[in-house]
């Protein structure tokens, strides 16, 4: 635990130091990044130690806050999340040194680094806290630090708006968590996690509060509306941290809450499965309809949170139907997907940041042909795209495989599951549909951004980014491949963390690892064949004529970049098929006359939940509060009177 605290101290110290030294932009960046990396490295080592030894470490100090004690611990479950947090923030920090240098010329970099380190430290505190007050304080710090990072480019109207939505959403979520913890601590009089009691209310109350509270952070549909606004608005390395890691703290909260309950009702599992399918499918559909690279990636976070929720649902169903194999596979898949998504999503966001950095635009239909100009960014983005589409031999396939297999065990007659066809349809069919749509979406993004010819002038002059931005992407892409090829290891590594949620023997983890050996054998054969075929092709073409020509466009001799298929046209058939859920809108200014001068077509798919749920809701709130305007007199005496009256009423109520 000492090392963990050292890391926190390092992070905070580095942040403050960077704030103090902010006069020199270079020093501030350097101090911030070095402290973030050092802190991250320490946490990484310590968490690996916990994960491998299976021994948790804890610390308890007396504290004079009501309900509070400085009670912290790192058990294997926390360690999984701490590893992810440390790893991604480290790499994002390295990336940030170069990204921020040119991207925020007039900004005070010290402030940016201060909040970055604060965000990292608070996320680590969230997963280590073992006391409700400490947890909520860290949770709030995390929200605020990320809010200031999101609004870094506050001269833009859209960014201010995004920040505002983000702030409101986070606090609505926190309000639910506050109630949750108050109820949990009501009976025992303390908010220490090990003494929380679930006797104060029926268990469904806790469940609903936790799903709404933590789900807002995680980005479950329909609580996701802040996500596609806030993530694109932040600087790219911060988007990577937020999308890759921060939303996972919501999943952590849910898992931690599940450990408080002895038995889990089946309908909790079904709820998670339902949320998972809806978030997964809707998330990827919205992503398909987007025109902005970072917005597209943000919606994919919703999709992947859906996959994680599917795994959680399978796991909970396994627990409630007493099938340890199903529970182990579901929860391992869930945790592994948390890690995997952190890796490939931060990789993709960093890639998007590089594109933004090199071309100045993230609009898909203005990009193109970047693979030739930015080979490293392009290649790593390709790895990330294949991984997020759940394709072998990469890591995304491994976690989806585990979740799917867990669901199949529920169908194979080993478990007496009611409504099991529904399970097969929702989990396996859902994952297949999500996978297919994700592949469509990422072939679109990759193809339009990196392949073909540049669609606008600036893009043609783009150059590869510098070393500090390249290496984090290479490392992340390498990790994606590594996890894919060491798949059988992971159920065993994650076993202690799964055991924190549902007690089980390690033999089950070994059982889960066995099919993965087959997967790895298949992947190795695949890679071997690729190598052989590359050689075969090279041998065949040796001493033959290999020519260069223009693309054969069915006889058309002068193809121009603007004639290429665009992202919107690529996705159009799918968007139209699912128009019931997307309700895409077109603004058309049709060409008129024989020699039309002007014609415009805009297509967009606004978020339905935002339009039909939140906007009316907030309009209603504004309307109600405007009716209470008369309370606000503007005279200080009246306000003092209000306060006095409130205290008086509370007094009476308490002494009643």
């Amino acid at each position: 635990m000492v090392w963990f605290l050292t890391a926190l101290a390092l992070l905070l110290l580095g942040g403050v130091l960077s704030l103090v030294l902010s006069r020199s932009r270079k020093t501030a960046s350097l101090v911030g990044a070095i402290s973030a990396s050092a802190g991250g490295a320490v946490v990484l080592l310590q968490s690996f130690d916990v994960l491998i030894s299976g021994q948790s470490q804890s610390l308890r100090l007396a504290w004079s806050v009501p309900f509070g004690s400085a009670n912290m611990a790192v058990d294997p479950l926390s360690a999984v999340f701490a590893v992810v947090i440390a790893l991604v923030t480290m790499l994002a920090a390295v990336y940030g040194t170069e990204y921020l240098r040119t991207h925020a010329d007039k900004k005070n970099l010290g402030v940016s680094w201060f909040f970055f380190n604060l965000l990292t430290a608070s996320m680590l505190m969230v997963v280590a806290a073992r006391n409700g007050v400490l947890f909520l304080i860290s949770w709030e710090l995390m929200s605020l630090a990320s809010f200031f990072l999101v609004t870094q480019e506050d001269e833009k109207e859209t960014v201010r708006r995004a920040g505002w939505i983000y702030l409101v959403a986070m606090h609505v979520g926190t309000a639910f968590l506050l109630v949750l913890f108050l109820l949990l601590g009501k009976d025992s009089g303390t908010l220490d996690f090990d003494r929380l009691s679930t006797a104060a209310a029926p268990s469904w109350v806790f469940f609903v509060l936790a799903v709404v509270g933590f789900g807002t952070k995680a980005g479950f549909i329909p609580m996701h509306v802040w996500l596609p606004e806030a993530h694109p608005a932040a600087p790219s390395h911060v988007s990577a941290v937020m999308s890759g890691v921060m939303i996972k703290t919501g999943i952590y909260g849910l898992l931690r809450m599940l450990t408080l309950f002895g038995s889990l009702p089946a309908w909790w599992g079904w709820t998670f499965v339902g949320i998972g399918v809806v978030s997964g499918v809707m998330g990827v559909l919205y992503a398909l309809a987007q025109h902005d690279l970072k917005r597209l990636l943000a919606y994919h976070s919703v999709e992947n949170i859906g996959i994680i929720a599917l795994g959680l649902g399978v796991g909970v169903l396994g627990i409630s139907y007493k099938s340890s194999a199903m529970a182990a596979l579901g929860l391992t898949g869930c945790l592994l997907h948390v890690i995997n998504h952190a890796l490939f999503k931060s990789l993709l966001f960093l890639g998007a940041g590089s594109v933004l950095h090199a071309t100045g635009t993230g609009e898909l239909d203005r990009l193109g042909g970047l693979l030739k100009r930015m080979p490293i960014t392009g290649a790593t983005f390709l790895v990330g795209s294949a991984a997020i589409s759940g394709l072998p031999p990469l890591n995304g396939f491994v976690s989806e495989f585990l979740i799917c297999l867990g669901a199949m065990i529920g169908l194979s007659g080993q478990v007496s599951l009611t409504a099991s066809p529904l399970m097969g349809v929702l989990v396996v069919g859902g994952l297949a549909l999500i996978g297919g749509l994700a592949a469509a979406c990422f072939t679109k993004a990759l193809g339009v951004v990196f392949l073909g010819e540049p669609r606008s002038g600036d893009v043609a002059e783009a150059h590869e980014v510098g070393r500090a931005m390249r290496w984090p992407m290479i490392v992340l892409a390498g990790l994606c491949v590594l996890i894919g090829l060491t798949a059988p290891l992971w159920p065993v590594v994650l076993q202690p963390a799964v055991a924190a949620i549902v007690p089980q023997q390690s033999s089950i983890a070994a059982e889960a690892a066995r099919p993965l050996t087959g997967v790895v054998v298949g992947s190795c054969i695949l890679l071997g064949l690729v190598v052989v075929l590359v050689q075969v092709r090279r041998q065949l073409l040796v001493r033959r004529r290999v020519e260069q020509a223009v693309t054969w466009d069915c006889g058309y001799t002068a193809p121009a970049p603007r004639m290429q298929y665009t992202a919107s046209s690529f996705a159009r058939p799918l968007v139209l098929l699912f128009r019931l859920f997307l309700q895409p809108r077109d603004d058309i200014d049709r060409p008129q006359g024989l020699f039309p001068k002007h014609a415009v077509l805009h297509t967009h798919a606004p978020d339905l939940f935002r339009r039909y749920v939140y906007e009316p809701l907030f309009a209603a709130i504004v309307w109600t509060t405007s009716k209470l305007r008369w309370l606000q007199e503007g005279r200080i005496q009246i306000y003092v009177l209000y306060i006095a009256l409130t205290i008086f009423v509370l007094f009476i109520w308490k002494l009643r």
Partner: protein, 305 residues
């Protein structure tokens, strides 16, 4: 012994797969009253392509070259997983059907990227359609296999297919198996770019799906694409034959022979379908594919009932 049978199956598939398109075109020619090309035409084409040079567009990158290579590697790996009737796949483990489905996904992913790499709007259009239809075909395939899992209580595709015995077909689960076969037939036709989803012989690039994506490939690259396509035909066909030809005699030679005979028969059936059914309008294809999913789900419901 079973391992030997599996290896023999893979060898047979690698050698015989290019004959399947020959059978299809022969049957079609017979229906149209023509003589048609020789049965081994696909082999001649491959031989010729392998001896040619190549032309690459200036726009393309390494992704364009990687497309055919990864595609063929995926198809060959998938061939190792797929069983032929009672003959198990070489590589068989719990959940291998997921690897099979996603290998086909990886193949498609790279084919689409290679098509987009040329910057041609025709190829972009084909890529868009391929992504569109395969996103709908994938759930149908996996749900069909889920229904087979529920029927056989096996998590491996070899176990699932081996459980389809004449006894199983005569049992109450029989109708469900036939439904799965119907769903798989739709997936088979769609994934292999066959009528009524796609017409491999259409003369207008605007109306193609698969063929238009590979317009720019030439020489050995194109040979790899053609060969991978026939292997994919074999892989998905073997699943279908595994259900429809339930010969499980116990002698692997007989089983395998029946399976390969079934493959030829399946090719002939495809020829009949292509000669008698018109191609669907593009807007109707999604419905056709959703119908495959519906059939699979129906089968699942029937098995679990």
């Amino acid at each position: 012994m079973t391992m030997l049978a599996s290896i023999v199956h893979v060898m047979c598939a690698l050698l015989l797969a290019p004959a399947l398109p020959g059978v299809i075109t022969r049957v079609k020619a017979w229906f149209a009253g023509r003589r048609g090309p020789p049965l081994l035409q696909a082999y001649y084409d491959l031989w010729k392509l392998l001896h040619k040079g190549a032309v690459y567009s200036k726009t393309t990158t390494w992704v364009f070259v990687a497309g055919p290579i990864v595609g063929l590697a995926c198809a060959m790996t998938a061939l190792l997983i797929v069983p032929m009737g009672g003959t198990a796949g070489v590589l068989s483990f719990s959940g291998d059907f997921l690897l099979l489905a996603y290998l086909l996904g990886l193949m498609r992913f790279f084919t689409i990227l290679a098509a987009l790499d040329t910057g041609s709007s025709f190829e972009g259009m084909g890529a868009s359609r391929e992504a569109f239809y395969s996103a709908l075909a994938e759930p149908a395939l996996l749900l069909g296999l889920v229904a087979m899992t529920a029927q056989s209580h096996s998590l491996s595709i070899s176990g699932m297919v081996a459980a389809v015995t004449p006894v199983a077909i005569a049992s109450p689960a029989g109708p469900a198996l036939l439904l799965v076969a119907a769903a798989l037939l739709i997936v088979f036709l769609a994934e292999n770019a066959r009528i009524p989803v796609d017409d491999p012989n259409t003369h207008l690039e605007l109306t193609m799906i698969h063929e238009v994506m590979v317009l720019d490939h030439s020489g050995p690259d194109f040979a790899m694409i053609q060969y991978a396509a026939t292997l994919k035909l074999w892989v998905l066909g073997a699943l279908l034959v595994g259900i429809l030809v339930p010969v499980r005699s116990g002698w692997w030679g007989v089983d395998l022979g029946a399976g390969i005979g079934g493959m030829v028969a399946l090719a002939a059936v495809v020829g009949v379908i292509e000669s008698t059914i018109a191609r669907l309008r593009l807007v109707r294809v999604p419905q056709f594919l959703v119908a495959a999913s519906v059939l699979s789900i129906l089968a699942l419901v029937l098995v679990m009932r």
